[in-house]
Amino acid sequence: MIHFVLLISRQGKVRLTKWYSPYPQKERTKVIRELSGLILPRGPKLCNFVEWRGFKVVYRRYASLYFCMCINQDDNELEILEIIHHYVEILDRYFGSVCELDLIFNFHKAYYILDELLIAGELQESSKKTVARHIAAQDSLVETAKEQASSLSNIIAEATK
């Protein structure tokens, strides 16, 4: 299973963290620092796996962003690479050629998409289309709610004028 997912920028800034195994907050900060130190300096032609505390961290770099997933020693590294790629493709489809800024400003959406893809550290949905469909459906739910809300606040705003 996947223990956690990290998105780290090339400068070492965290863009997304999702923990599937329990790590206390202090530990999380430490883990992120350790892994940034381990992964960011690695050159482009090296393999995508890092051994770390008896686990394996599979990472892949897209533009300026490193997608890292931590797995058990006997999990399949190539499968995880595919999952990472899968995630990126879905993000790409959703945002339309995704870039780091998209993820910064829509961090919650990155989470929602990840939640559709992975649950409890297991791959949930291997079809890009299905994930896109679920997310779109949820978004439309949000939109209708927002419309109501905005109209409500308009009413209030007008009323208090």
Binding site: M1, Q11, G12, K13, V14, R15, L16, T17, K18, Y20, P22, P24, Q25, R28, T29, G43, K45, L46, C47, N48, F49, V50, E51, N72, D74, N76, E77, L78, E79, L81, E82, I104, F105, F107, H108, Y111, Y112, D115, I119, A120, E122, L123, Q124, E125, S126, S127, T130, H134, A137, Q138, L141, V142, A145, K146, Q148, A149, S153, I156, A157, T160
Partner: protein
């Protein structure tokens, strides 16, 4: 402004985007990362805002506030535990966005210590039952992230219902969530397991994938329980074309096959088929891994895997290369050929730019090491280490050291070579393995008698090189070199040179602890030299017997005869001062060639007679050197150094007296004082030349605890005891004669017991007295005293005979260590002294091997035991499997929910508990039969033969009757 704040907040609230922009702006302005004062003031300001906004009654405002806080928490690790309640509040919102934000905040920030988490239970239950699938999905996602035992217990019924949801994506999420719930609340296994198994037959690949994922995780922890499900997995393995699913199924089989060898025969063919067919590297690699880990008896499969591994290795992709090397490492113990075939790639990979690949290659190279090629491989590696970066260099050295020392140096035949290799390693520029090399030098010195001359030789080379003293990483090695040189000084070619090396000025660069070893060694060398001067005959005889013993038994008497025939005074200034050493090379060179030795011996004797007058000058020179160097250090603040320096200076005083006494012609002029000084030198020499054997790790445990020894007492009491007397803590000699000590040994414990039994008021002085008498041999340690006493002093010929035979000596040693062990003697190889530690390590290895089995065995045992105790509901740490047993009490709360099912499970559980091993099997059978018993026989690819169907039917009938009698054991038909 009465109702104002909330309204104002909602109108002028900073949106999430504003917050992020603001953060970025501040970071840019500060030009540094988050955490600088600049941005942290902004962050704290934002948090204050959030604190205000989040109390708003307006859902929208509250949502945005929580979203901002979640952002800050997840990326800047800002504490948001205080907002837990707000998250729960929002999760109950009717607005989907607010609900989603609330759940996201909860799933990110909640943990088991969040106290309000229980308040979420109700909302989760409501949402799990919701008609809106997206709400259900949200609730499931949240539950899977923050599940606690309480939540798991309370929400199990809902999950159970959802496992049958008609919406595929809900079902999948429910399945994945079940895994978490199982972990936290094992009793839920009994409720949900059956539905899980049912879903294995689902036509939807996604669902099968999720299910297989769950079983893969479960099987990871306790594979044995899932053995009965093997037919299902087999079907998936054969039928499925989905790589995600196949990878997981392979993982399950990798766990199951070792438990049931017959299973291997069945699955090996489909796995090979996948391996041949697939184009996906991930699946190919999983096949390879399954084969090399679990199917190693199937030669064809291993061969195929080896071929595929070679393909991986030749790829340019570093990922595949790395994985290929890993697979090769896994296959190495079983089929070394595969590794040897790829030797070239492996050696090349040593210089790969990727550290991971290098390490993996190194591991592989070490796996190839055997008796025949160890020297060659080490040569290559050391040369390589000289060229590589410090980190990898040390990794190489480390792996050489650990590989060569494995299992008491079993791969080493030529210890002289290995010891010189150790010396060479010390000179590798980046070497940081000082501690390990130190340990091995000392260890080999103690364990392998025959190699001592070489150890001393290597030690000397290290000691006399002043350059090495500057490198702090080597200090530990130098410490070992000094120790062996002192301990085995009789093999030293030139004690004077050695003494100079030990006292060279640059030794002040050493840390005090190492320096203390140097001085102690100097002490030993001096004692030895003095002894040699005073008792040349004895010394020579001893040396000959010692050297001769290991070479040629018959030679011993001859040589001692020939020596005693002459009056010999020994001494040569520099070279060949030490006659023992003169014999030493012959031993190596000529083996059993006794004649040459005798002739050499005569040569030595004659020349030493000639140079008799040199003796005193030489000794005086040495004494002066030692004194001039060490005198200034007598005032050192380091206790270790000071103590030892004082010892040496004391010895020098003695020798001085003696030498001056000798100014008067030596022969027959002994007055009392001189004699005494000589005697003391002799006693000390005897004490020092007692052999130190390796001590068993458990030796301390065999030392009986003296009555009245209170280890836990306050240390302040000790001060009173030690006040009037200082224990010679570290000086390793006793002024008492070893002989008398030996006699004492028997009585020590008795005396001690008597003494210790005295009232505590008296004990202080008695203890002091006792320590005075027995020095460091205070504890009647069976091990420490008796073993060394088996090694007589080197000069005692009569004693020597007893232990002349190495085998005898080993037998004695084994007797002492009380535990039988295998005979370590191999003819061409020097004897390596082992203690029962060896057996201990062996057992440990076995233990780790068996660990997995033991766990499942324990589970089985627990199951059997439990059965006897009937069905008492208790949570079992050996989770799933054991808990799959059904216990009716625990079921009651659920029966209302899933009435018929639970009853059925309960029934089955009872039946199955009679056949522990196949309990799941039964369950799985039953459900299948109940579900699609008719369709089953159509499946031709099913591994099971037709006979179980009859059983199914009977089971079905039995289920129907609901009143089942004992069922005959279910045969694991899939294996037949």
């Amino acid at each position: 402004m009465a109702g104002g704040p909330s309204l104002m907040d909602s109108l002028f609230q900073r949106s999430l985007e504003d917050l992020i922009k603001g953060l970025r702006l501040h970071n840019l302005a500060a030009g540094t990362a988050a955490g600088t004062p600049e941005s942290s003031t902004f962050v704290s300001k934002s948090i204050d805002e959030v604190r205000r906004e989040i109390k708003s009654t307006d859902q929208q405002t509250k949502t945005t506030a929580l979203q901002k806080l979640t952002y800050l928490h997840s990326l800047y690790a800002i504490d948001m535990s205080w907002a837990a309640f707000h998250a729960i509040e929002l999760s109950s919102s009717t607005i989907f966005n607010s609900k989603r934000t609330g759940y996201l905040a909860a799933s990110i920030s909640f943990n088991s210590s969040t106290d309000v988490i229980l308040l979420l239970t109700h909302q989760l239950r409501k949402d799990l039952n919701s008609g809106n699938p997206h709400e259900v999905s949200l609730a499931l996602q949240t539950l899977s992230s923050i599940c606690t035992p309480d939540l798991a217990r309370d929400l199990t019924p809902e999950l159970f219902t959802l496992l049958n949801s008609n919406k595929g994506f809900i079902k999948k999420k429910a399945i994945a969530t079940v895994l978490r719930v199982f972990e936290l609340y094992p009793d839920s296994v009994r409720v949900c397991f059956k539905r899980l198994v049912e879903n294995l037959e689902n036509a939807d690949v996604g669902i099968v994938s999720a299910i297989v994922g769950v079983f893969c995780e479960l099987a990871n922890k306790e594979p044995r329980s899932y053995l009965p499900l093997a037919p299902e997995f087999y079907r998936i393995l054969v039928d499925s074309r989905n790589n995600w699913v196949l990878i997981k199924v392979l993982k399950i089989f990798a766990k199951l096959v070792p438990l049931e060898p017959r299973l291997g025969k069945r699955v090996v063919e489909p796995i090979c088929e996948h391996l041949r067919r697939t184009g996906a590297k991930s699946l190919a690699f999983e096949c390879i891994r399954t084969i090399v880990c679990s199917l190693t008896q199937h030669e064809l499969a291993v061969k195929l895997a080896a071929e595929k591994i070679r393909e991986f290795l030749t790829e340019d992709d570093p990922n595949l290369k790395y994985l290929g090397l890993q697979a090769l490492a896994a296959i190495a113990p079983k089929s070394l050929n595969a590794v040897v075939e790829n030797k070239e790639v492996v050696i090349k990979s040593l210089s790969d730019e990727d550290v991971n690949i290098k390490f993996e290659a190194l591991r592989l190279v070490m796996a190839m090491v055997s008796e025949d090629n160890v020297a060659e491989i080490c040569r290559v590696l050391i040369n390589y280490a000289l060229k590589s970066d410090p980190e990898f260099c040390n990794e190489i050295l480390g792996s050489i050291l650990s590989t060569c020392s494995r299992n008491y140096y079993e791969t080493i035949v030529d210890f002289d070579w290995y010891v010189s290799l150790l010396g060479e390693m010390a000179r590798v520029p980046h070497c940081q393995k000082g501690e390990e090399i130190e340990n091995q030098l000392v260890d080999i010195g103690m364990r392998v008698r025959d190699v001592r001359p070489e150890v001393v030789h290597v030690g000397r080379d290290l000691l006399i090189d002043p350059a090495l003293l500057g490198n702090s990483f080597i200090h530990r090695i130098l410490s070992a070199a000094a120790w062996v040189s002192g301990e085995y000084v009789e093999f030293c070619k030139n004690p004077f040179e050695l003494m100079e090396a030990l006292l060279q000025p640059r030794t002040n660069l050493l840390p005090p602890s190492v320096r203390a070893v140097y001085i102690q060694s100097a002490f030993k060398v001096l004692t030895f030299s003095a002894y040699f001067y005073f008792y040349p005959e004895e010394a020579l005889a001893a040396s000959i017997s010692e050297v001769g013993e290991s070479v040629h038994n018959g030679w011993c008497e001859q040589s001692s005869d020939s020596v005693s025939g002459q009056t010999v005074t020994f001494s040569e200034p520099d070279e060949g001062f030490n006659p023992r050493m003169l014999h030493q090379p012959q031993k190596d060179a000529s083996g059993n060639d006794g004649k040459k030795m005798i002739s050499d011996l005569e040569q030595v004797s004659s020349c030493s007679v000639k140079m008799g007058h040199f003796t005193k000058d030489c000794l005086v020179g040495m004494v002066n050197l030692v004194e001039s160097t060490l005198r200034p250090m007598a005032g050192s603040h380091e206790v270790e150094i000071q103590d030892r320096v004082k010892n040496v200076l004391g010895l020098i005083e003695l020798i001085r007296q003696e030498i001056h006494g000798c100014l008067v012609p030596k022969e027959e002029e002994n007055d009392r004082g001189e004699l005494k000084a000589c005697e003391i030198v002799r006693v000390m020499h005897n004490a020092l030349s007692e052999e130190l054997g390796p001590v068993s790790l458990s030796a301390q445990g065999r030392v009986p605890l003296p009555d009245g020894l209170e280890l836990k007492e306050n240390l302040s009491d000790l001060e009173a005891i030690c006040g009037d007397f200082r224990i010679p803590v570290l000086s390793s000699f006793s002024l008492e004669k070893p002989r008398s000590l030996e006699k004492d040994v028997v009585t020590v414990s008795d005396q001690q017991n008597e003494e210790e039994c005295e009232p505590s008021s008296e004990s202080t002085s008695l203890l002091t007295e006792h320590r005075k008498r027995h020095g460091i041999y205070y504890l009647p340690s069976e091990k420490k005293e008796k073993v060394p006493n088996d090694y007589p002093p080197a000069n005692d010929l009569s004693m020597q005979d007893k232990v002349n035979d190495e085998a005898d000596y080993l037998v004695k040693l084994t007797e002492k260590s009380l535990v039988p062990k295998k005979k370590p003697i191999a003819k061409p190889r020097p004897v390596v002294v082992k203690l029962d530690d060896g057996d201990r390590i062996h057992i440990n290895e076995k233990l780790t091997e068996l660990k997995e089995d033991l766990i499942s065995d324990a589970v089985q045992e627990v199951l059997l035991g439990n059965q006897a105790v009937a069905s008492s509901s208790r949570t079992d740490k050996s989770d799933k499997s054991s808990n799959r047993r059904s216990r009716k009490e625990a079921f009651r709360p659920l029966e209302s929910n899933a009435d018929s099912t639970t009853v059925e499970i309960a029934e089955l559980g009872n039946k199955n508990s009679r056949r522990i091993k196949h309990r799941t099997h039964g369950k799985e059978r039953s459900h299948r039969s109940s579900k699609k018993a008719t369709g089953e026989s159509d499946r031709s690819d099913r591994p099971s033969s037709s006979h179980p169907h009859g059983k199914h039917k009977s089971r079905q009938r039995a289920d129907g009757m609901e009143n089942v009698a004992a069922e005959s054991p279910v045969i694991p038909d899939f294996l037949l």
